[in-house]
Amino acid sequence: MSNNSFDIRAYTGFRAITFLCLAILYAPLVVVTIYSFNASQSLTNWEGLSLRWYVEVFTGPESAKFKTAARNSFIIAIIAATTATILATLAATAMVRGGKFRLRTLSFGLISLPLMVPEIVLAVATLIFFNSIGLDRGLLTILLAHIAFCIPFAYLPISARMQGIEDSYEQAALDLYATKRQAFTKILLPLMMPGIISGFLLAFIVSLDDFIITNFVKGAGVETLPTAIFGSVKQGIKPNIMAISTLLLLVSIVMVTISYLVSKKDNTK
């Protein structure tokens, strides 16, 4: 049906534009990945395959800086995503399984607030807030800011998943004299697991990737991977930056793929 010229749904050129769209989306990433394996010192010339820039990332003069930055990034991402996922799971249970209540719309507005406020504005607001309560900028301020903006990213897949689960499973458990707590932990939570994992992974990536807010609330000398990369790039793109970028790209793609596969899994059967 799709190649039939009488198909009223098909428009000439739309397929070509779709492929153009994919080409635009992937070209820069593919090019950087390829050039990260370039043996040449210069960015312009191609001198054959080599892993020297990856070796440089782990052993070169900047490796200590990037190692610390990577450790900070991962510690913050794990704690922020875990906290946000717990808060989002509890909130989603109230929003989806809590009946209709007056504060429901307001609560949803509050949860999605970090998505509506432009990131740079949230960055300014957070910096001003920490400054006004006298909290010194450092890892803690980065972590607190990350928890806040991770919540909606964790919440959306979790609540979507919960809306797709009929409550008959929990009702059956309650009919069989399970307590509400048991119905929640033994029935709803396991059924929700794909949504929770998917929410956690998305929150994790969003935290790992954040530059703008981190750049505002980090103290002097405290770096995460994106701020360390930005600092380096300001002096010009170097091949070792492309190697780091490729590694981070790999982490993101692996996590999104896991999140996608997990969320597709149907464990209600």
Binding site: F14, I17, T18, L90, V121, I151, F211, S252
Partner: protein, 307 residues
């Protein structure tokens, strides 16, 4: 998912009605303290007096907003003239974001339509392909774009190599580079809502139009587009709003001549200008503009739902 889909999939029940306050409390408290209170504090700061070398003096003042809109000369006692510097930066941001939105619409609409008319098994795969780049670090994507578009970059090398060009295209440090960067940053936001709208669209309407001898393009314009308008509007907003306040694309791809709001704000807190109340005021003006756009669109969406 199949069981949920059969029952409509969006049923809300009241199984945990008694516990809901306690379930919501942690999220409420966290977001109130870490998002709502900071935004209010920023509003307060925008009305304070600036302290040289960053920070504020707790003294009410309108000078941040005054500085934004009026020029009172070097010593502040000339008759006020309109100060165009910052208005121009805001105007440029709106213009750049608008161009990026248009670019995203031109590429994103056919893409979304194409994906929505694939077989139901293939649709999620296409959506997945479109969303992957979004999850890659925005900084890395912008740096990659810069690398690709450089004067001696792979794009120019390729174009010169196949004899299409003699001299490299100078794209970096132009308005167009920024538009391209913004387009690249937020394209999935355009595709996804349009895709969702087309997927829900009833193609029997198009068939009816075709039966009445409407051409394909007339059908697209007069039947499909009005039906999926909410999706198109949502996509445009989702690209326009983050584009307007973006920092990385103008900073890395645009150079100093193509300053946007994001860079202006950042400079107040990081750079040498160091005027916190002014940065807070510029942020408030940006936030107000965004909230107005969101409110207008929410009202129209509600109107469309009622109709």
């Amino acid at each position: 998912m199949a069981a949920g889909a059969a029952s409509g999939g969006s049923a809300t029940t009241d199984t945990y009605k008694e516990a809901r306050t306690w379930l919501l409390m942690p999220a409420w408290v966290t977001l109130t303290i870490l998002v709502l209170a900071p935004v209010l504090m920023m509003l307060v700061y925008s009305f304070l007096t600036k302290e040289f070398r960053g920070g504020v003096i707790w003294e009410f003042s309108l000078s941040a907003y005054d500085q934004f809109f009026f020029d009172r000369g070097l010593f502040g006692d000339d008759p006020p003239k309109i100060e165009w510097t910052y208005i121009t930066i805001f105007w440029r941001s709106i213009w750049q974001a608008g161009a990026a939105t248009l670019l995203s619409l031109v590429i994103g609409f056919p893409t979304a339509y194409f994906i929505a008319t694939r077989s139901p098994q293939m649709r999620p795969v296409w959506v997945f392909l479109i969303t992957i780049p979004y999850w890659v670090n925005l900084l890395i994507r912008t740096v990659s774009m810069k690398f690709l578009l450089r004067d001696e970059g792979p794009l120019n090398d390729a174009l010169i190599g196949i004899g299409l060009l003699d001299d490299p295209l100078r794209i970096i440090n132009t308005n167009f580079a920024v538009q391209l960067g913004l387009f690249y940053s937020y394209l999935p936001f355009m595709v996804l809502p349009i895709y969702a709208a087309v997927e829900r669209y009833n193609f029997a309407l198009s068939e009816a139009a075709a039966d009445l001898y409407a051409s394909k393009w007339t059908t697209l314009r007069r039947i499909l587009l009005p039906a999926i308008k909410p999706g198109v509007v949502a996509g445009c907003i989702l690209v326009f709003v983050p584009s307007m306040g973006s920092f990385l694309a103008p900073d890395l791809l645009g150079g100093a001549k193509n300053f946007m709001i994001g860079s202006l704000i950042e400079e107040q807190f990081k750079g040498n200008a160091g005027n916190w109340p002014f940065g807070a005021a510029a942020s408030m003006i940006l936030l107000t503009m965004v909230l107005i756009i969101l409110m207008i669109s929410a009202r129209q969406q509600a109107k469309a739902d009622r109709a």
